[in-house]
Amino acid sequence: MSTEIKNIVDNIIQEKGKSVEMVIPILQAIQENFNYLPEEALQRVCDTTDITPSKIYGISTFYSQFRHKPVGEHIIKVCVGTACHVKGAMLVYDAFKRELEIEDFDDTDKDGLFTVEKIACLGCCTLAPVVQIDETTYGHVTTEKVGEVIQDFIENKDKPKSEQKSSLAVDEKTQGEIRIGLGSCCIASGSQDIKEELEDTLSRNHIHVDVKQVGCVGVCNQVPMLEIHKPDEVTSFYTKINAEEVRGIVLNHFQPTSFIDRFKSRFNNFVDSFVFENIPKLTKKYAEDEINTPISEFLEGQINIATEYRGELKPFDLEEYKKLDGFKALDKCLKNMTPQEVVDEIEESGLKGRGGGGFLTGQKWRLVKDNKSDKKYVICNGDEGDPGAFMDRMLLESYPFRIIEGLIIAGYAVGASEGILYIRAEYPLAVKRIREGIEICQREGMLGNNILGTGFSFNLKIFEGAGAFVCGEETALYKSIEGNRGYPILRPPYPSEKGLWDKPTLINNTETFSLVPWIIRNGSKAFNSTGTEDSKGTKVFALAGKINRGGLIEVPMGITIRQIVENIGGGIANNKKFKAVQIGGPSGGCIPESMADIPIDFASLTEVGAMMGSGGLIVLDETDCMVDIAHYFLSFTQDQSCGRCTFCRIGTRRMLEILEKITSGQGKMEDIGTLEKLAEQTQKGSICNLGRTAPNPVTTTLKYFRHEYEAHIKGTCPTGKCKEIIRYEITEDCIGCTKCAQRCPSDAIPVKPYEVHEIEQEKCIKCDVCREVCPVDAVITK
């Protein structure tokens, strides 16, 4: 064994400890060091800890985060979340592999420079298709841009990241405030560059403005965005800006403080406008009170409870959080309410768990509270793994204190002394913010012993998930914390009786906890006056797909799907027709446009065969193939099945195989019957809700779009999506620009300048590049 590996592993064990439940953190640390799990390292772990070979292999092969083979120097993660999928992510994935000349069975290029992998969801759905190379995120990556993206990455990878400047201190003589969103979407769209440019501009021009980094603004469709707040001015929003435009915007609103600066800035402005003359100005400016702008329409009709003070709150500024009523609820609970009163308040609010199941939160709290035990736990489920959902990520990143406060209140109410935030490892920013939040709270006496001098003690820690969607299921989640494979167990016993380490455990979703402080502060009546008979309050959705304005929204329960799509989302993009929404992620279903007037609440969604899920809302247009959508979701759940019970492990696979038969034109009419039968059995016979709900995307599309299945069986994909039964053709509209011929990776289009081009079908690999590059939309699929 190499001494290097030995030393590193020994140090890790020194830090993490030798007990079995540390297996996941230990493996994560090893992988962080080596980029994969060297066998020698695993052997060393087994030799020096209580972790057995059986354990370490069982765990390291269950969670998809772990790799057993070395990877390329850089990792290209192609997001194949729902929003990306409907915008062609699989074609992008294929294009990367093609561009890097990676064989089908392999994932790393010959030089070991790049490894290409698919990732369930990066949570930047509004920038779809999204690709992340190491730390850099690229949005709107289409097949024809793949080469450029790789080139750009190679050119920039060795440039040092400019150091973070701390010009953010508050100044007495401030001229105003500039807010910049620093959620994952914003950063992915370039807000970090904007921030650097902004700080540079301000310091060079000696402008005294507060620059405030706020959490997710929610208007993810318009990012990067700057908000300019001035004492006597209406707030201005600048959307979709790029770094080059920052200087102009700033100088438009704020005057440099000395004459020389002013002069210099003018001069620079002049040079800038000269240099950047040819850059198309996509940036649009909107005033806050201007009506009928994308910003105002997007924000209208939303209610901010989980996202209270959205766009105002700096994620890690405790003082500000406190100023804006933060920790008042905790104070109220600890000083003026008994645990029973807290539970009563939550119960009366009618709050239902926001993780998807919709169980009454107050009732859950009561069960945990009433179970006598020497030790109890509270767990925040932030293992958001649905493709097409990023609510938890945004809440954790933007409102860490609110979630921590919700957890402490829950701990007090149920009598728990320890809380755990289970956050998926794909959300590094969320982990970082929460970690900072916990440290600050510990320092300030909000966590630890004798909180706020009331004698109540509560500790919080983070558990980083390792990549398993099934761990969002509460029993699998706590099994995972115990250092096991994420196998759900049959309930009862419910975690409220016997959960983590066999102790009564309260497990709620992130959003649920984030609503708690508001309910306590404003009272249950204020909360349940919003919503419907069945479902109270608000729901946060990740709105994405074929929509004009996607983003994170918080809407009152009872709002209709159409209101969301048309009013908040601004209708379907590119003048296409609204076809359906996919709601609730892989456990949910597709609701056709004809039923878009149903109000959104737990009961009515379940009634139509869908599910609230955790809140992914993907809008589909007429170009989306519903069989493909069903196939997409089922391939996700099939891949994420833990593999324990028969119906989920094999049933979902067989269903997927039937769908593959159908989408490739090999299906027979009787396959639909087999599919339905299997769907029914899998719903009935699976142990946990992953299996029980996995067939939903299939059953709803069969219910509302059966004719599309039948069309595939007859040999056509009505929307031209299913690769194996479509062909690409060039119409008479072709202007002979040769772009398609030049870009075709398989030389299937002979170059014929100024003539109508043709595709040689036997060479065509259906990569979609020609259609992407055609300036006159002359490439069609049939």
Binding site: T52, Y57, G58, I489, E657, G685, I687
Partner: protein
């Protein structure tokens, strides 16, 4: 105490009792595979123990569900049975294993060929012969003339040439015949019932053999002066007359009376045979004679339109294969025996059979682990003389051991049979590639026969195996394997017996079988 109802019967159990155990206390049997008595709780994976709670209509695995007050459990309605069956069918669609070897399945007499091969390979020729005679009454004769469909199905054909099954069978018969006292199986207690067999061809002789074995008396009628029927017309260079005579001699020795030169006309049939015999088997080998006996219909249990009259062999239609006629003789005898016991007529039940089709290239390599590499052995003295001892042993060692090592204790097979599961229903995906882990003194592990219940992993871990077994991967591709790519003998040192016994399928088995 908790009170609940199972199949409408009220029952009281202690708190914490599972529904499965509550049902057991009422004598209601629920199938289980992944569940190991008392040792592991809340461990459901196979889903064959599904039951329904009538109160909410939900199905759940009874092995892990604690009984709760007021439950109203149904264990055997259509929905439950259907769900269990579907579960079994899904498991079978992912079960890469044969219960019986292809050779045996293609043998009309369903002779246990692989077991015969193993006995020969281990120099146990007498036992081999006894086994053969369970299904083939005339192994010496068939050893000469059988067209051996079994060899056509033999998997060894994919490696080089099929095992010489037919010659091996003749070899053991030859060994027997050359002994001072030939093998005669033990008969069941005498019943004093009389059975007439008309025709002394392969069907008639075989029928007589199994009739006698069951303790009945048997008289064989034939219009010719010599017994043997169609076998008499086989040329000497294919079937030596001596071989035919010596095996007919055995039937005689076993107690059959031969009434040769006796033509059974309709009158004798009606007035003598029907009166003097409790049952009659027509095995004349000639469909044209049927009108003599007013024979109109024959069903799958070989019984005819006449009560107590059975028919088999080429009397149905002309068969080219003697082995088929012989197999029918055996089956007709089975039906007659049932009839005489007052339970028949009937058919021998064949258990469910899992089959996975052709071996792939990589699988051929796995199967070769079980056999010697030499190509098919040709007898030095020529085919008509057959194998000598050394040749036979070596040839038998070429057998790839395609049959399952746990054909009777495999629960998957038992329940598949019981629930009438159809393996092909969901077998449309690409099947997995099987592997055989042979590096162990006593145990063989075939991971694609596994249902992923994980009992072996838990047992090995409970027994503190240093290496043990582990899950690799998750979802559909999860499999049981050995950590650090070690060998099976390192994985299972002290826990092997417990693991094999707990394994509900043939995935983990003793090398020597059950």
């Amino acid at each position: 105490m908790i009170e609940l109802k199972i199949n409408s019967q009220p029952v009281k159990v202690k708190e914490g009792t599972t529904v499965l155990k509550a049902a057991e206390s009422l004598g209601i049997e629920i199938p289980t595979m992944c569940y190991l008595k008392d040792e592991f709780e809340n461990h459901p994976s196979c889903m064959v123990c599904l039951v329904k709670n009538k109160n909410n209509g939900e199905l759940f695995p009874s092995c892990a569900m604690p009984a709760r007050e007021g439950m109203d459990i149904i264990c055997d309605d259509e929905e439950v049975i259907e769900a269990r069956k579907e579960g079994l069918e899904l498991l079978l669609s992912d079960h890469v294993g044969d219960c019986e070897a292809p050779c045996r399945l293609s043998c009309p007499a369903f002779m246990d060929i692989p077991e015969m091969n193993r006995l020969i390979a281990n120099n146990k020729f007498d036992e081999a012969l006894q086994l053969v005679k369970e299904d083939i009454a005339l192994p010496l004769i068939l050893g000469y003339i059988c067209p051996a469909p079994c060899e056509g199905a033999c998997r060894r054909k994919q490696v080089d040439n099929p095992v010489s099954i037919c010659l091996l069978k003749r070899f053991v018969a030859d060994v027997d015949i050359n002994k001072d006292s030939v093998y005669l199986p033990e008969k069941k207690p005498q019943t004093n019932k009389n059975v007439a067999v008309i025709g002394s061809g392969p069907a008639g002789l075989a029928a007589a053999y199994y009739i006698l074995k069951s303790g009945q008396n048997c008289v064989i009628f034939d219009k010719k002066e010599k017994a043997g029927g169609s076998l008499l017309s086989v040329p000497e260079n294919e079937l030596p007359a001596k071989a035919l005579e010596s095996e007919i001699e055995i039937i005689k020795k076993f107690g059959a009376k031969f009434e040769l030169n006796t033509n059974i006309n309709p009158e004798i049939f009606e007035n003598t045979l029907k009166k003097d015999f409790d049952a009659i088997i027509i095995a004349t080998g000639n469909p044209e004679e049927n009108f003599n006996f007013d024979l109109k219909t024959i069903d799958s249990s070989y019984s005819t339109n006449m009560n107590g009259v059975f028919a088999c062999g080429s009397v149905l239609r002309h068969h080219k294969m003697a082995i088929r006629a012989l197999a029918q003789g055996k089956e007709a005898a089975f039906s007659v025996n049932l009839f005489l016991e007052g339970k028949g007529p009937g058919k021998a039940n064949r258990l469910f059979n899992s089959r996975f089709g052709k071996l792939t290239e990589s699988e051929i390599e796995e199967y070769k682990k079980e056999a010697i590499f030499d190509n098919r052995i040709e007898p030095v003295k020529g085919k008509l003389s057959g194998f000598n001892k050394e040749e036979a042993v070596k040839e038998a060692q070429r057998c790839l051991r395609c049959d399952c090592r746990k054909p009777t204790s495999c629960k998957l097979r038992v329940y598949a049979d019981q629930y009438g599961a159809n393996q092909k229903k969901y077998s449309f995906g690409e099947r997995k590639q099987l592997k055989k882990y042979m590096h162990h003194n006593d145990v063989v592990f075939e991971q694609e026969k596994c249902i992923r219940c994980g009992l072996c992993i838990e047992i090995a871990s409970g027994e503190k195996e240093l290496t043990g077994l582990t899950y690799i991967g998750r979802g559909f591709n999860v499999k049981i394997d050995i950590p650090f790519n070690k060998q099976l003998k390192e994985a299972l040192t002290i826990a092997s017996q417990k693991c094999v016994e707990a394994c509900p399928t043939g995935a983990l088995a003793f090398k020597n079988g059950e």
